[in-house]
Amino acid sequence: MAIFLQLILNSIIAGSVYALVALGFNFIYGATKFFNLAHGVVAAIGGYAFFYFARILGLNIYLAVVLAIIFAGLIGYGLDKLIYLPLRKRKASNMALLVASLGAMTALQAIIAILFTSQFRTLSQNISTQKLFEVFGGVITQTQLIILLVTFLILSALALLLYKTHFGRAIRAISDDEETTRIIGINTNKIIGHVFFIGSAIAGLAGILVGFDTGIEPTMGLNLLLKGVIASIIGGVGNICGGVLGGFFLGFVENFGIWKISGEWKDAIAFALLIAFLIFRPRGIMNK
């Protein structure tokens, strides 16, 4: 029974990380309708930017978090302005955008490895002193609790942004039909640029939190991206609530999947789930 409770807890913890990555990914997908494969590496950049500001420059932790999030957001913004926007202007297909983002992912990941080496690092200084909480007989660390709270905080903030502000209405209009939105006088490219900034900033935050929970390495982005994409698709791509739901669903399937078989099969289980969804419900749980 204790194992069962801990598994539920682990599922929720893993799920909240996936949900957080999926939130930013879905937010960007909603406006641009292409799979931004560089999303994961932006999360890694967030983690490393924090590492740089806090550990190498020795700034205050909270200041470093804010700076790192802004930095990740700027990277996303830059990617849009330098790569995706020119491609969209040229009416490039989704596949061209996907390949370009694949290129950005490969290059940025290698650049991180050059600057910071491929070594695995932890962000929290002494992991043993982390506060532990007992919930129904299971254990959860302080960082993991923060990740869970942040996920729901960001979800609410994004929902408010999308459904209660003028800016959010414009994003939803672009999501429905970009050309018409442009015709009625909304600067769609500017708004998509902002969407990239916000989505990438969320990714950066996810990278920092994962860095506190486990650690950072240059290749962490790919893993986060893949899980985030799977969560988005099984939840309903482009739908921010769907992404969160998908994230938790993925967390549960993964953690209960390895109850009986060894833990190295997690990724395979996740992708088996993706392929099952692509066959039976390609639009995900939420989308009709």
């Binding site: 989704n94 390949v99 370009a100 694949l102 290059a107 050059i114 099969w265 992708f271 392929i275 066959i279």
Partner: protein, 288 residues
């Protein structure tokens, strides 16, 4: 001189991989990012058979082909229902699953330790332990598969593939079962990749899972995107440049570990720049 021969063999191997991937990506317009999976299947088939049983090289090649055909058939049935970026994501997932199998099925693949001591082939009284004779063998394979690919591309079957790429609905209206065609070319390409994998395993004599991860598939994709999609000579040209490029970096004089990362940066940049300025590659006839 020995090093030049080594480069030439690598070129032949990657050119062969490019040819077979081009049939799927270039001619049929399906963005497959899982070529390294089948390449790995062939490599592992040869490695396991040659080290654990007494069978010859050619038996192991045929065995690899059979396994690759079986696997690609089942995953192809699923994948062929999709197109565009969803197809790409599905193949992404499949590559990750196969990589997990190589890594975790330790009884068979020895996991991360890899399989050392794979013997070089020997037949017709010619000993291929010499690198020069092995180069000739790999060039023979390259030209063989080149002619097979050219035959496929030029046949009526190949014309249907191109029609699927241009407009799948239209060709379906004419009564062609596009699903069968997509499946068939996927299986053929997988079988060709497996042959190349066998060749690679017996050349390097040591394989481990890291050679068949997702990044390797991206690398092969970069070759054909650079050379040009839907052009077989383009794939060979692309392999030539991509193998040669890191050698130029060598003269710049980076330390070894940074040079490896620099290579990734260059590959990533190539993909981005091609998508931006020359999406059809050097001599391509189709752009993504």
């Amino acid at each position: 001189m020995e090093y030049l021969i080594h480069l030439a063999i690598l070129f032949a191997i990657y050119a062969t991989l490019g040819l077979s991937l081009n049939l799927v990506v270039g001619y049929t317009g399906l963005l497959s990012v899982t070529h390294a999976a089948f390449y790995g299947v062939g490599a592992y088939a040869t490695a396991i058979l040659l080290t654990k049983t007494g069978v010859g090289f050619f038996t192991s090649v045929i065995f690899g082909i059979v396994i690759a055909i079986t696997i690609s058939f089942f995953i192809g049935v699923v994948l062929s229902k999709f197109k565009g970026d969803y197809y790409a994501l599905g193949t992404f997932g499949f590559n990750t699953i196969v990589f997990a199998v190589f890594l975790n099925w330790q009884n068979l693949t020895r996991g991360p330790l890899g399989i050392p001591g794979i013997s070089r082939p020997e037949f017709f009284g010619i000993d291929f332990t010499n690198n020069f004779t092995f180069l000739i063998l790999s060039l023979v394979f390259l030209s063989l598969l080149y002619f097979v690919s050219r035959f496929i591309a030029g046949s009526s079957f190949g014309r249907v593939l191109k029609a699927i790429r241009e407009d799948e609905t239209a060709i379906a209206v004419f009564g062609y079962h596009t699903l069968y065609f997509k499946l068939a070319i996927f299986v053929i390409s997988a079988a060709m990749a497996a042959v190349t994998g066998s060749l690679f395993a017996s050349y390097i004599t040591f394989i481990d899972p890291s050679g068949f991860r997702l990044m390797e598939s991206v690398f092969i994709l970069a070759i054909i995107v650079l050379g040009g999609l839907a052009n077989l000579r383009g794939s060979i040209l692309g392999a030539f440049f991509i193998i040669l490029l890191p050698e130029i970096l060598r003269f710049v004089g980076f330390p070894a570990d940074i040079a490896a990362q620099m290579r990734q940066v260059v590959y990533g940049m190539i993909l981005i720049l091609l998508m931006l300025y020359r999406p059809q590659g050097l001599v391509g006839e189709y752009k993504l």
